[in-house]
């Protein structure tokens, strides 16, 4: 499940402070903020800039450089589908078409019910069991369209059972 906490400057300040002792602390701080709030909120930028004595542009430059950091809250679950060569050789493109149709979203979009955000990824390190998909932090190998549907359904069923 993706983090859902609403933005809180107070909480963000505490998260930033907890990583203050690290050298080269910006990436660890950004990871910690994203873990807390699900994304890097616009209001976090000046807080980070002040803490690290950087310009807001510097911080913005780092946030926008890395694919992992997002500026808006994702759906409740993030689905990462591998688009790299090993998965391509096992028809990842066909799987991706199926997922797009099934969820009615494209990459970098979230389903209408806010359940799933779809992201492309280049390699999940499961290249001998291609094609690979990661749902939140759970990796799946040899994912056929039918297996994908089962994974998506069980993700929602687990959520409903909570």
């Amino acid at each position: 499940m993706n983090a859902r906490s609403p933005w809180s400057a107070e909480r963000a300040t505490a998260v930033i402070a907890a990583n203050r002792h690290l050298r080269g602390a910006l990436l660890p701080m950004l990871h910690a903020l994203q873990e807390e709030f699900g994304c890097i909120d616009e209001e976090a930028i000046p807080l980070l800039a002040r803490e690290l004595n950087l310009s807001r542009a510097d911080v913005h430059g780092v946030v926008s450089f890395y694919h992992e950091f997002r500026r808006s809250r994702p759906g409740r679950h993030t689905i990462k589908v591998c688009r790299a060569e090993a998965c391509q050789s096992m028809n990842a493109d066909g799987l991706i078409d199926h997922i797009r149709r099934r969820l009615k979203v494209d990459f970098h979009e979230t389903t209408a019910d806010d359940a799933f955000s779809l992201e492309p990824v280049f390699c999940l390190g499961n290249c001998a069991l291609a094609p690979a998909v990661m749902v939140d932090e759970t990796l799946h190998g040899r994912v056929s369209p039918a297996r994908f549907d089962a994974i998506a359904a069980s993700t929602l069923a687990t959520e409903a059972a909570r």
Partner: protein
């Protein structure tokens, strides 16, 4: 207890988990409880026979007996058949270490992977762990560097630079602080060996980095792991905590005056951060853009200090070199390619996984003797060797021995040993286009040939695929490849032309289909 305690191994490697290892382990636990059988389940790493995952092993007096792939629904049947005594079953493969795929390997770096409990210091020591470090603690830094140099070890990340020479530069640099940085940003498609050893034998990496630290006089180190590997991040963090507890890391390593502190840092989804200077920028908390060299990171690396930057497999090869000596390691291999490499069979392959073999093994042996051909059952048409910046090779080159120089002679590379297999349904013009598309998406943007060349490359490939003025556009493509090769700041732009040109050279028929043929598809 009247009954003997049975020991069953169920991997916790991410690849095994991806096909249900946790469910299988839970089913074994539940079934044993139901039947009142006392059982010890060890969550080991993977043996690297990934088509057999979940590979369940049972300890018997003769050795470990393998069953796989075991799904949760197979478990009751295995108990019925008496698998705890190593009985026969449709999923049985006999003694794990006699399975030809495994028996024919030469496991030096991966010797413990899949065998031990990755987070047991005791298990690690029982299987030869920390012997290399113990020997290093009694040596001078120069002696350690000489041992590594003499072993012939070359960087396993792909570039193949001699590790000992790099260490020597850092050893001789004068500075108040030096660093060891492990590049665990394994972003190349078709590679998973770094992930596998970090999840299956994490102390081996800690030991290798500590030896490197003593060898060059470094007291701090970082392991930069990509964010796509949450399991590896968790395993390494826990292993580091345990190593501190047992004084294999910290201020006084096992009562000696040596000090080494180690931390894990997580990347954020940028392929370029696998390039060593980009990784250093990222570790410093910046955009992961490439630094111009010189200065070399060995002289001005992390925070401007002398830094050893090595790949996971370079560092995990060091403990056995120190334990068994340079000669032992160097005696494996051919020519100037010494020791072993963890070949990774990936993509459309029946028996995908890790094959650790001495250099000199041929692609043909790897693809057919180990790999068993494609999983789709169709002929292999092309393999991409050495990652997304590596060449696409046709079957006529499959007899080539795995040797850095032999591969370079045909404009290909061994790289990190990743091998991605494609059957005859592959469209090589589309693969060439993808190489450019990948570069466009992942370029750090610092230099123009890479940043803009890749975008132009996609456009040119689109025109070729559409059958527009094909001959003129192929000329343009070659020209563009030359600019990127000669003008890029690092290997990202400099090597993107390799897959493109190799596809064009070995599979020209895919680039010159008439517009009518394209339209008919």
């Amino acid at each position: 207890m009247s009954e003997p305690l049975h020991t069953v191994y169920v991997p916790r490697d991410a690849a095994a988990l991806s096909v249900g290892a946790d469910e299988t382990a839970a089913a074994i636990r539940a079934e044993a409880t139901k039947r009142g059988i006392p059982l010890r389940i060890v969550r080991n790493g993977s043996r690297g026979m990934l088509w057999l995952e979940t590979l369940v092993e049972v300890e018997t007096p003769e050795g470990r007996v393998a069953y796989g792939p075991v799904m949760a629904e197979d478990v009751a049947g295995l108990f019925d058949a008496g698998f705890l005594e190593g009985a026969d079953h449709a999923l049985a493969h006999g003694l794990t270490e006699k399975i030809p795929y495994f028996a024919k390997q030469e496991r030096l770096t991966f010797a413990r992977c899949g065998i031990i409990d990755p987070l047991s210091v005791e298990d690690y020591r029982l299987h030869g762990g920390f012997r290399g470090l113990e020997r290093a603690l009694a040596m001078t830094p120069a002696e350690i560097v000489t041992e590594v140099t003499d072993s012939g070890l070359r960087g396993r990340g792909g570039a193949g630079f001699p590790t000992g020479i790099k260490w020597n530069t850092v050893l001789n640099a004068k500075a108040d602080q030096k660093y060891i940085c492990c590049n665990a940003d394994e972003g190349d498609s078709g590679t998973f060996a770094d992930r596998m050893i970090m999840e299956g034998d994490p102390f081996c990496l800690i030991e290798g980095m500590t030896i490197a630290a003593i060898a060059v006089g470094a007291t701090e180190g970082y392991i930069y792991i990509r964010s796509e590997y949450p399991h590896a991040v968790a395993t390494m963090r826990e292993a580091i905590r345990l190593a501190y507890d047992e004084k294999w890391l910290g201020d006084e390593i096992h009562g000696t005056g040596h000090r080494f502190h180690l931390d894990v840092r997580v990347g954020a989804g940028a392929y370029i951060c696998g390039e060593e200077t980009s990784m250093l920028e990222s570790l410093e908390g910046k955009r992961g853009t490439v630094r111009a060299k010189p200065p070399l990171p060995a002289l001005e690396g992390l925070f401007g200090k002398p830094t050893v930057v090595n790949n996971v497999l370079s560092l995990t090869s060091v403990p056995i070199i120190l334990d068994k000596g340079a000669d032992y390691y160097r005696d494996f291999g051919v020519g100037r390619s010494r020791g072993t490499l963890a070949f990774q069979l990936a993509g459309n392959i029946r028996h995908g996984g890790i094959v650790e073999k001495a250099f000199g093994v041929t692609l043909h042996e790897l693809l057919y003797e180990f790999g068993g051909g494609t999983i789709t059952g169709r002929p292999i048409r092309a393999v991409q060797a050495g990652g997304p910046l590596g060449a696409y090779l046709p079957p006529s080159l499959f007899d080539l021995p795995k040797d850095y120089e032999a591969f370079a002679a045909v404009e290909a590379m061994v790289g990190h040993g990743g091998i991605v297999v494609f059957d005859d349904s592959v469209d090589m013009a589309r693969q060439a286009r993808f190489a450019m598309e990948f570069c466009a998406a992942e370029s750090c943007g610092k230099c123009t040939p890479c940043r803009i060349g890749a975008v132009r490359g996609v456009e040119v490939m689109d025109r070729i695929i559409a059958g527009e003025r094909v001959a003129a556009n192929i000329t343009l493509l070659n020209d563009l490849c030359e600019v990127m090769t000669d003008g890029s700041l690092c290997a990202m732009g400099g090597m993107t032309p390799i897959p493109v040109r190799s596809a064009l050279k070995h599979f020209p028929e895919d680039f010159t289909r008439s517009p009518a043929a394209v339209a008919a598809e």
